[in-house]
Symmetry: C3
Subunit: 158 residues, 3 copies
């Protein structure tokens, strides 16, 4: 199609992350170019759960690590989470349909030549180190995001 | 204007649904073409409250039916809902202004030649049957949504 | 760049307001034209905390004034707010990085020739008076927003 989609993934919730990644995967299947810019809570989606470190971090940064979800499958729902019960139910319903889980959509996206960017300011404020993110994630500033988004045919804030 | 707007209605909250439907109605009034793609919680907006059925549904699908809002007017607020008190207050404020309620904006939209689409995967996961949705809702996949959105002049994720 | 960005600021949460204003400021730095349309909870961001009045307001409008955040710095987080504890922690982390607070991004935006619009219907329903908003905010209807957004190169619903 020679078209381009740019997603700003702000939310760190399971259902919204699912929506973003389903769109990203579907776009690649119809040969649309895809960029995802992860900011704020959206960074939880591209943290590598096996590379979390508490070294050289302030007390707040350590708390942020300890209190937040480790990896995509731990993200809560944006609604009806009911301390995890609603999310568990949704996961069962996804399985009943033989539909993929969030982690599979993320794995799919990582293989489909999608540009993964992380917001520089968000990474700094949250105290994440570049090596704690998935290796293909490139850290860029808001102006660089804007230039990409302004040239895209479809932009969403999720 | 010969322009086109595409809304992805992900949220199933009263205030966000209101925002989406006000935009859709206003766009039609200035002759902008409108498509709304309802996904996830957004599907609550196009379920026909009189056609809910528990037949042929799994236990989770039944729970989903029982625990979720029946019809647009039952949707909660995204903020300050206070177990419904905040929403009741907002409804009173809307009435004080003589402004239409959500159900009226939905009725208006249904008469204005707006395309209503529902996300196929969301419908399957939530266990809704096509006949439980408003009759004008067409079920499509993410790729079909993308093709429409990529050709639009304004796209929002609500 | 001769490009134009249009933000619909629906949310009245600290983190999302931050995202919107960082994008707005960054866009101006690369000479992109910026319009922000504040609707619903987003109006909390452009209320002048020193001009709140309870005069000539219904009981609901007075409650709305009393129960809602006074000024940008009082806005809650969209996630992990923990009755303000999470937000306090985030503010400390922002300060540790020497990064600006929300109020500074708002002040920056006000000096950068950004168009500030407020949604007429939202202002009426919430019972705000025009003089309670920041002086540069112009009140417009949804159709006027749409015309601006349809001519923009990047539009986000935040």
């Amino acid at each position: 199609m020679n078209k381009k989609m740019n997603l700003l993934m702000f939310s760190g919730e399971y259902d919204k992350a699912m929506a973003g990644l389903i769109l990203a995967n579907s776009a690649r299947e119809i040969e649309v170019e895809v960029t995802i810019f992860f900011a704020f809570w959206g960074l939880f989606l591209v943290r590598d759960p096996e590379k979390t470190t508490l070294e050289d971090k302030s007390i707040y940064e350590k708390l942020m690590d300890v209190m937040t979800p480790k990896g995509p499958e731990q993200l809560p729902l944006s609604r009806m989470n009911f301390s995890g019960l609603g999310k568990w139910m949704l996961e069962e319903m996804i399985e009943d349909q033989g539909a993929p889980k969030l982690i599979h959509f993320l794995k799919g996206a990582r293989k489909k030549n999608i540009k993964f960017y992380a917001c520089k300011l968000s990474v700094e404020i949250m105290g994440f180190k570049p090596e704690e993110l998935l290796p293909e994630v490139e850290i860029i500033d808001a102006a660089t995001y804007l230039k990409d988004a302004l040239e895209s045919d479809l932009q969403l804030f999720i």
